[in-house]
């Protein structure tokens, strides 16, 4: 019984993380000593006013940006000690990204976009094709597989982006304002997709949002102000 009480090692462990842009007078402390643990299977929403550092925190977690100081351990590994290429491998095998602006390759079909991370995983063509199709099916877009992003609505593009994040079968999906460009109806659709992935597949999701309604889909809410974590509470679940 005593053993069960020991909390498992966090998947993501941030300790005293700072991110400083510029220097001297123009210095901006986007992150100022962030401590944060996220465990496997969590669905975390990060909120806060603009400039509170929520996106920066997300980028640091996703190894898209390097912290100025502090420790970041992913699954017990100190990320600062990794080379650029090793961080790329970490992203490749463990992380999936969903951006506010979708960031799909233009003039490239939905299916090819979803296949892209799989190419870098070294997957064969047929296998890749199957996995990408399956990921598109998960977000309900199998019938749009051969459309270019320009022929898809915002909500559909974001679902393609989610499928791309899922296709590599990551441990964590990092979503930076995934509903920022979408209306309420589409936003809810997207959130349902994410929620479903978290609940049925046990996928860890970290999401930045500025909409309280969307944050309620998560199970834990982190409120950031001025580059620090100010509140860290469970959300009351939306139904």
């Amino acid at each position: 019984m005593a053993e069960a009480a020991v909390p498992p090692l966090p998947l993501i462990h941030l300790h005293g993380i700072s991110r400083v842009y510029g220097s001297g007078e123009a210095e901006v402390r986007a992150l100022d000593g962030v401590d944060l643990d996220i465990h496997e299977g969590e669905f975390v929403a990060i909120m806060g006013p603009s400039g509170s550092g929520k996106s920066t925190a997300m980028n640091v977690i996703g190894c898209l940006d390097a912290p100025t100081s502090g420790h970041y351990e992913y699954s017990g590994v100190e990320v600062a000690g990794l080379t650029r290429d090793q961080r790329a491998l970490l992203r490749r095998h463990y992380l999936g990204f969903v951006f506010q602006g979708y960031n799909l390759l233009p003039r490239t079909t939905a299916l090819q976009n979803v296949e892209l991370p799989l190419i870098y995983k070294g997957m064969g063509r047929a296998e890749r094709h199957a996995a990408a199709t399956q990921a598109l099916a998960k977000v309900g877009l199998e019938d749009r597989a051969h459309h270019d992003p320009s022929a898809l609505s915002g909500g559909q593009q974001q679902r393609v982006a989610i499928a791309r994040a899922l296709a590599g079968n990551p441990q964590v999906v990092l979503a930076d304002e995934p509903t920022g460009n979408l209306d309420t109806k589409l936003s809810r659709d997207i959130m349902e997709v994410l929620k479903g992935l978290n609940q049925s597949d046990g996928l860890t999701i970290v999401m930045v949002t500025h909409e309280a309604e969307m944050a309620r889909y998560a199970r834990r809410l982190i409120w950031m102000v001025d580059g620090r974590v100010e509140r860290d509470t469970p959300t009351e679940q939306a139904t």
């Binding site: 996703g62 790329a88 491998l89 992203r91 390759l105 233009p106 870098y120 070294g122």
Partner: protein, 403 residues
């Protein structure tokens, strides 16, 4: 992975069809223009040399004035020759087989309602021998016509075609300047010379006719002489110079007031001219190459933002910087090779077409092909690769947010 990289690159090429097309176009224009122009230039240089050799190395041209062909306005100060000079030259020098006196000017010839500006030449039958003209129709001058300066003429093919069309010219009367002149013969066509100047564009009349009715003086502008077989050209030139100094009464220590040229000199002068021409063409071609290069540069730089974001996306989803760079490098190399190949084919085809139309030999130069191709490919690769390299060095998030 290399195969996969190539596939990615090919995919990217087709995805960015317009950018790819413009890049290829830039390379094609650059490479094609250079190859075509240099090929034509080299072909014409070779043709000139061959033409002059065909003319025979045993021909000499004597012109009034020092450095008549190279210096300033020819024969400005020097007195013209006359018929006597020509004949004395021929008589006194055994090594001169035959020398033709020639007087000429430009003028209009008219037949019916057609007219043409052409070279009007006064000479005698010796000219046909020296220059190797054959009669296609009719005859050359008879002694009486030469002696009394009758208004008769022999015309070249171009004049016939222009004035007569399908009519038989021999026996017809044309007007040369103000002189009505009966055509007695037509020369067999020699076609265009190397420079495209028409060798058949003239009307020839007896020297006496020319003197009496056209020029109103007794000048001979040029003596065209054939040296006997087996006589070395430089010796012939030297001896002609000695006789000419004597005939023109040039004292010891005074400069010649005439120029003797052999065909070798003419050849070197002509190939000098074609050399200049080739240089000029090459300069134009180099500009095309540069323009092509700037085109490639432009299209690559314009697309930097899009490419930077693409690199950001690829890095975010787990590509390593060198994989992305390899893809861009392969893309640039494929485009350059493809464009270069089309450019080489286009350039050689154009060069071949040009050579055929100008009736000159087709002489592609490997060095030029390689240089043009190398330059364009380098521009394509450098401007395709280095912006990508910069992007791949950024933090992925900065590349993603690149504006």
């Amino acid at each position: 992975m290399l195969w996969e990289t190539i596939r990615l690159a090919v995919q990217a090429i087709f995805r960015n069809a317009l950018r790819s097309f413009l890049t290829v176009l830039g390379i094609v224009i650059g490479v094609g223009a250079v190859i075509a122009m240099v090929t034509v230039g080299q072909g014409s240089t070779e043709q000139v040399t061959a033409d002059v050799e065909k003319l025979g190395s045993n021909l000499l041209m004597v012109l009034p004035g020092e450095d008549a062909m190279e210096g300033g306005p020819p024969g400005t100060a020097a007195a013209m020759f006359d018929l006597r000079t020509n004949n004395l030259l021929e008589e006194q020098l055994a090594l001169i087989e035959v020398s033709a006196p020639m007087a000429m000017s430009r003028g209009r010839v008219v037949f019916g309602n057609k007219n043409r500006r052409t070279d009007i030449v006064g000479t005698d039958n010796r000219y046909f021998t020296v220059a190797g003209w054959e009669i296609a129709q009719g005859r050359i001058f008879d002694p009486a016509e030469l002696k009394s300066g009758r208004p008769v003429c022999v015309i070249g093919e171009t004049v016939r075609k222009d004035l007569f069309g399908s009519i038989d010219p021999v026996g017809e009367v044309i007007r040369i300047r103000k002189l009505s002149c009966q055509i007695i013969g037509l020369l067999r066509s020699k076609g265009a010379s190397t420079f495209g100047s028409d060798q058949d564009d003239f009307a020839i009349m007896p020297l006496r006719t020319y003197h009496n009715r056209i020029s109103g003086n007794r000048d001979v502008n040029l003596m065209f002489a054939a040296v006997r077989d087996g006589v070395p050209t430089d010796r012939a030139v030297r001896e002609v110079e000695v006789v000419m100094r004597d005939l023109r009464r040039i004292g010891r220590g005074e400069d010649d007031d005439f120029t003797v040229m052999d065909m070798k000199q003419i050849a070197s002068m002509l190939s000098g001219i074609t050399g200049v021409l080739t240089g000029l063409l090459s300069a134009v071609a180099a500009v095309s190459l540069l323009v092509g290069g700037i085109g490639i540069m432009n299209i690559m730089l314009v697309s930097v933002t899009e490419r930077t974001r693409e690199i950001g996306i690829r890095l975010a989803i787990g590509a390593q910087a060198r994989q992305v760079l390899m893809q861009f490098l392969v893309e640039a190399v494929i485009l350059s090779l493809f464009g270069g190949l089309i450019g080489i084919i286009a350039g050689l085809s154009l060069g071949y077409l040009g050579a055929t139309l100008l009736a000159i030999p087709f002489r592609p130069a490997l060095g030029v092909v390689m240089t043009a191709f190398g330059f364009s490919a380098a521009v394509g690769v450098i401007f395709g690769y280095f912006p990508a390299q910069r992007a791949a060095r950024m933090n992925p998030i900065d590349a993603l947010r690149h504006e």
